[in-house]
Amino acid sequence: METDDREGNRMWEEDSSHKHLLDTMFARGIKRKCFDGEEDIEGTLAGFKSVPSYNLQRQSLLDMSLVKLQLCHMLVEPNLCRSVLIANTVRQIQEEMTQDGTWQVINAQNTGQASLDRLVSSDILCRSTKEQNEGKLVPSYSGFSKDFENTPSQDIISDLSTVTSVQAPRNPQSNNVWEMENSQENRGNFQKSLDQIFETLENKNPNSVEDLFSDVDNSYYDLDTVLTGMMNNTKMGHCDVLESFSSQTTTNSNSNCKSDINELDHIVEILVES
């Protein structure tokens, strides 16, 4: 990552604490407590406990959820039900934080601090505010916001999620077999009819085109695999999609763009779900 040394060091520290979070999360010590018992994160907002405590817990829950979404089994497909439930939890938290107004507070405080997740999420925020009209804050997990889904697809986040969900780079020269029409609508119908065709086909030659297209639906899993592969510097087969994609996002002239985009993809794709 192209950061200066100071930030690089901080990043390294963040990594350790991030890793610690992972360790404890996956520790077999079932008896360790989270904030259960006295702290009443499950309590209603009506019975407002001390505000910082609740916000802190909520933020921790958000961080934990993001980590859960990012981690996936390298060799086996992730459990879709679990992923959907975690993603819904993230959305819930984000919506509440937006209503609270605490979302903006977090943004302001969020310049290069705390966990790796927040570092990335602030990146997303920075990018989105650059692209958006000034003053309009787009939540980083904008894919979830219902309002967002109505905004025009010129929005950069939308573009990112759209393009990667299509799995087709806008580069027409690409020989990628996933390439399809760019129109979101057509893509949807095309996919749906493909699914139905797929359903009624008999045993297929694994090399058939239908088989390849049948995997378009599973882009969610593919990108998990891809991105994990990316993080481990191994090619998992679908990397060319994202690579060609990231090579075209020229809209942001920020020097950290390329590496940030990969991180961005990572987060947005996990959250927004391709």
Partner: protein
């Protein structure tokens, strides 16, 4: 074959039981495990001359149902773990069952052979062909008894119809068709036809970004062959009638209990996700299992369940920890007793719970070698939720969340239950039997 941790993990976990199912008569009990094996137990014929004799279950057949596969296109493994087994009603001497992993359903025929023919004309006892010119006399082959041999052979393989992971299969009361359900779709099959299935439910959104709900379980009605239900991760159940339309995306009935606003939390949705749905034998009710409770629904009332039973309410204050260690995503199954008068479901610490509907009583029992010797009566267990812990009680913090009972089965006629505790199978019988 992928290397690294996987091989080691597989050896360790292969024996973990992943499904348990009695057949229609209760004489056979099938288990599937994480290693793709199916083990079938058969109830011994009871010997009436021995006082304390009761039918014990002994191993009848073992076979490898599914093998691990590798999806080269996605660079992902397809687990061989058996997710569900469902028996077909017996129509002849052989037994048939359906077993499924994440992607492929197989129909297995289990048949016995206890005789063999001797005295062939054209071949001798070793099986070698005899020279026809040497045969001077003809004889009729005789059937002679031999040691019982149980053979399992795959008769049908239903593959390539599920993009997502199969969570349920259910045989129809017409005995000709069955359904298979994955996270987003439900398919209808004919048992004779493997190259074609009909998609009857599809909840996959056009735009996957909008996915917020998945199918968690599905089952056919026990008597009405056109009716089935499926449950979702949002705690809803939809009843569908296949006569109304080919694609049952529109439900006939929609069952959902309104949320209690006072207990709302960030985990509300997760704990409302239904992990299992089962029709009663009578077909009048259905039971659903969510993380903390079991609910009985009257099919004629969609607004709320008619009965609710708390399985382990003491976990409600621990939801955050359980979210952290992923236990909150555990999928517990549930089952009815043969007469529908009782319900059973599993919990943690190798505990399982039974609820007597008519007497409004419930009991917590433990399935473990330490706490129960063969033929000993199970002692009820109690979890202490706070304050002073009484003798024999166990405190919530001492519960072992690695010992989870996800799969249980109840004999269709008698009070015999099968409880799968990780890689051990326990069979308990009512002493009054």
């Amino acid at each position: 074959m992928p290397e690294g941790d996987t091989g080691w993990k597989r050896a360790f976990e292969a024996d973990i039981i992943s499904t348990v199912e009695f057949n229609y008569s209760g004489d056979l009990l099938a288990t599937g495990d994480k290693g793709g094996r199916v083990v079938i137990f058969q109830k011994e014929q009871e010997n009436k001359s021995r006082l304390h004799s009761r039918g014990e279950y002994n191993v009848y057949s073992t076979f490898q149902s599914h093998e691990p596969e590798f999806d080269y296109l996605k660079s992902l493994e397809i687990e061989e773990k058996i997710n569900k087994i469902r028996w077909l009603p017996q129509q002849n001497a052989a037994h048939f069952l359906l077993s499924t992993n994440d992607k492929t359903i197989k129909l297995w025929k289990i048949s016995e052979r206890d005789k063999r023919a001797e005295g062939y004309n054209l071949k001798d006892e070793d099986g070698r062909l005899r020279d026809p010119f040497r045969i001077t006399a003809l004889r009729v082959p005789i059937l002679k008894p031999m040691d019982l041999m149980v053979e399992a052979s795959p008769r049908r393989i239903f593959a390539n119809a599920h993009t997502y992971h199969i969570n349920s299969i259910s045989v129809n009361s017409d005995h000709e068709t069955y359904l298979s359900a994955d996270d987003l779709r439900i398919n209808l099959w004919h048992l004779e036809i493997t190259d074609r299935s009909f998609n009857i439910v599809d909840i996959k959104p056009v735009n996957m970004e909008e996915l917020t709900e998945v199918i968690t379980a599905a089952e056919f009605h026990p008597h009405q062959c056109n009716v089935f239900v499926y449950s979702s991760s949002k705690g809803t159940i939809r009843l569908c009638d296949m006569r109304s339309s080919a694609l049952c995306d529109r439900h006939s009935k929609f069952f959902e209990e309104p949320e209690d606003p006072s207990s709302r939390s960030f985990f509300s949705e997760i704990i409302s996700s239904i992990s299992d749905v089962k029709f009663s034998h009578s077909g009048r009710y259905m039971m659903t299992r969510d993380y903390l409770s079991v609910k009985v629904w009257d099919l004629n009332m969609e607004t709320r369940p008619v009965e609710t039973y708390q399985v382990h309410e003491y976990l409600r204050s621990k939801l955050c920890s359980l979210y952290e260690n992923d236990c909150i995503f555990d999928k517990f199954e549930c089952c009815w007793s043969g007469s529908d008068s009782a319900l059973m479901t599993g919990s943690y610490n190798n505990f399982f719970r039974m609820f007597d509907r008519s007497m409004r009583r419930d009991v917590t029992l433990e399935a473990s070698r330490e706490s129960s010797k063969p033929r000993a009566i199970l002692k009820p267990r109690k979890v202490c939720t706070g304050g002073k812990r009484k003798k024999d009680e166990i405190s919530v913090d001492s519960l072992d969340f690695n010992k989870k009972i996800l799969h249980t089965a109840w004999h269709p006629l008698d009070n015999i239950i099968a409880v799968a505790a990780t890689n051990n199978l326990y069979i308990f019988q009512d002493k009054a039997n």
